[in-house]
Symmetry: C2
Subunit: 320 residues, 2 copies
């Protein structure tokens, strides 16, 4: 099958590598002038993997979209809407299947990425998500993992799983698009919180963070019409190893550096999600104490250690 | 209040230290000849903490029980029944409150520890459990955590929380004794599985382990009459940081050493729990794929890596 991957960052490049590995004909697109694309064109590798010569590299978006049956998108979540405004003007989109391989929420609206997609591409466009745990470094060393694919259309879910399932990535069929999208986005928020606990010397509170954090997120998922058990699945809890415990996690590292006063060059994706959750908490009238604490720290500049400790030492009460 | 702690291992000694810190009059009991007790008597400290002189040490069980209003028990789970056969013959037990501060299930019956307690001490005896995350090393450095107290009698729960709540341990009222006991015991099983993944070089599968493991355990809790959400609370998921990710976790270490073929001197508590779960899985007719895989490895000596990988690469299916 012809597959195109839009976005040639770490994950997008991995997706191209993986699609090739499961015997598809692959095009990897990066925007004109992209430094990642230039490196890949020159060396056919990046710091994580080597791309086979058969993966075609291009900066021609129209051609990348036209030539593919399934199009995987892996760009920054906050750039999705403007990117799709360009994509939506391209010809011949009708029968294409798009898969969003990204984790985030639109910061200033709290919208899920498939909502943004449908608003820009039209309600009839076919879209799914591909989420869950997995380090590029592990996959390229042949260490398998489980991931989840979801969509409002079961046909899309099945098509994507059938195209990409292998002994390296075992897919589960997602049954709750709302829960999976919120779960995938918010694991980055829990990653920042975990990093802050690490940085403040309170790593042992990461257990309580997991138990209390999943609890409040499952409430917002239910309020939004999702299933309150989904947060405990692969897209959220299943990604905690990579996000809350790995020294490589960008979001965890961001939280740790923030507490330690180490300057950071790039905001973690979870920061935008904290802002999005602030909107969702108000819109759906659901209390999110941990997410709110992060909002106070990151957007209202309250003292991190005090906010974190107050959070975990709230008055005694029933657990659920 | 007069508090006695029965058992002077690492956790029992911590409980005595903590009860003293929250201003109780504390007796710490160890069995006659106990090496831990001898060290404590000679030095009033162990490798983790220093006991204040005001904590009285004794090997007189009758006196330790008689003098206390609340009695905390922290011994090996598999010795609880025979220990209680002795305790139950002591005079004046009627108004005492016992708290089981231990995590396990009876290996050859699958019974919960409060079930064992009631069978030996009588149905009218007052008993609660004190469970959840927390490292001794952190508490003694003044790093707080959240824990959970539960009982079939709300009066017991409230009494114990009131007696022990502080700015170091913030308690939640447990609402599901079955779920909390199963959760606390089985987190050791997940710890062994995590250690095996670490030892086999598959640490990144610990995310999938968390998502899939909690799922199967919540099914057995529900089948036993508990609430299927409890597994995601402090007693189980909340203890994952300490159990699945800490290099100090006995159960995780056991799993890692097992895979690497490093001889181990003492079976981890989770091994007995794997046996107990084997009984429960049959009794309640609930499939527990991860627990069963550990049973095959530990009791039927199947090849660890193959069993683990087969487990995570089972055929594609719906997640919940």
């Amino acid at each position: 099958m012809n597959i195109s991957v839009l976005g040639c960052g770490r994950w997008g490049t991995f997706l191209a590598w993986y699609a090739n590995r499961v015997h598809h004909t692959v095009t990897l697109w990066g925007r004109p002038g992209s430094k990642n694309l230039m490196t890949l064109t020159a060396e056919h590798k990046n710091e994580y993997l080597e791309l086979p010569e058969s993966v075609r590299l291009t900066d021609d978006l129209e051609e990348a979209v036209r030539s593919a049956e399934i199009i995987l998108i892996s760009i920054s979540a906050q750039q999705l809407r403007s990117f799709l405004k360009t994509v939506s003007k391209l010809p011949g989109l009708k029968d294409k299947t798009f898969v969003l391989c990204m984790k985030g929420l639109e910061a200033d609206t709290g919208k899920r990425l498939t909502q943004v997609f449908k608003e820009e591409m039209g309600a009839a466009a076919h879209v799914g998500v591909w989420l869950g745990p997995g380090h590029v470094q592990d996959f390229t060393r042949n260490i398998p993992n489980c991931m989840v694919v979801g969509s409002d259309e079961i046909g899309v879910t099945k098509k994507v799983v059938e195209a990409f399932n292998s002994d390296l990535i075992r897919f589960y069929y997602g049954q709750d698009l709302i829960g999976n999208e919120i779960g995938a986005a918010t694991k980055n928020v829990m990653g920042i919180a975990a990093g802050m606990l690490d940085g403040a010397g309170y790593s042992s509170l990461k257990g309580a963070l997991m138990a209390r954090g999943t609890r409040e997120l499952s409430r917002i998922v239910r309020a939004m019409g999702g299933n309150d058990i989904t947060i405990y699945g692969l897209s959220h809890l299943g990604d905690y190893e990579a996000t809350l415990f790995s020294p490589h996690s960008n979001n965890r590292r961001f939280g740790e550096d923030y507490v330690k006063g180490i300057p950071f060059h790039k905001l973690a994706e979870g920061v935008a999600t904290v802002e999005a959750l602030h909107h969702l908490s108000q819109e759906y009238e659901v209390e999110l104490p941990i997410c709110h604490a992060l909002y106070e720290i990151l957007f209202e500049h309250k003292e991190t250690s005090k906010v974190l400790i107050d959070l975990f030492l709230r008055p005694v009460k029933f657990e659920f």
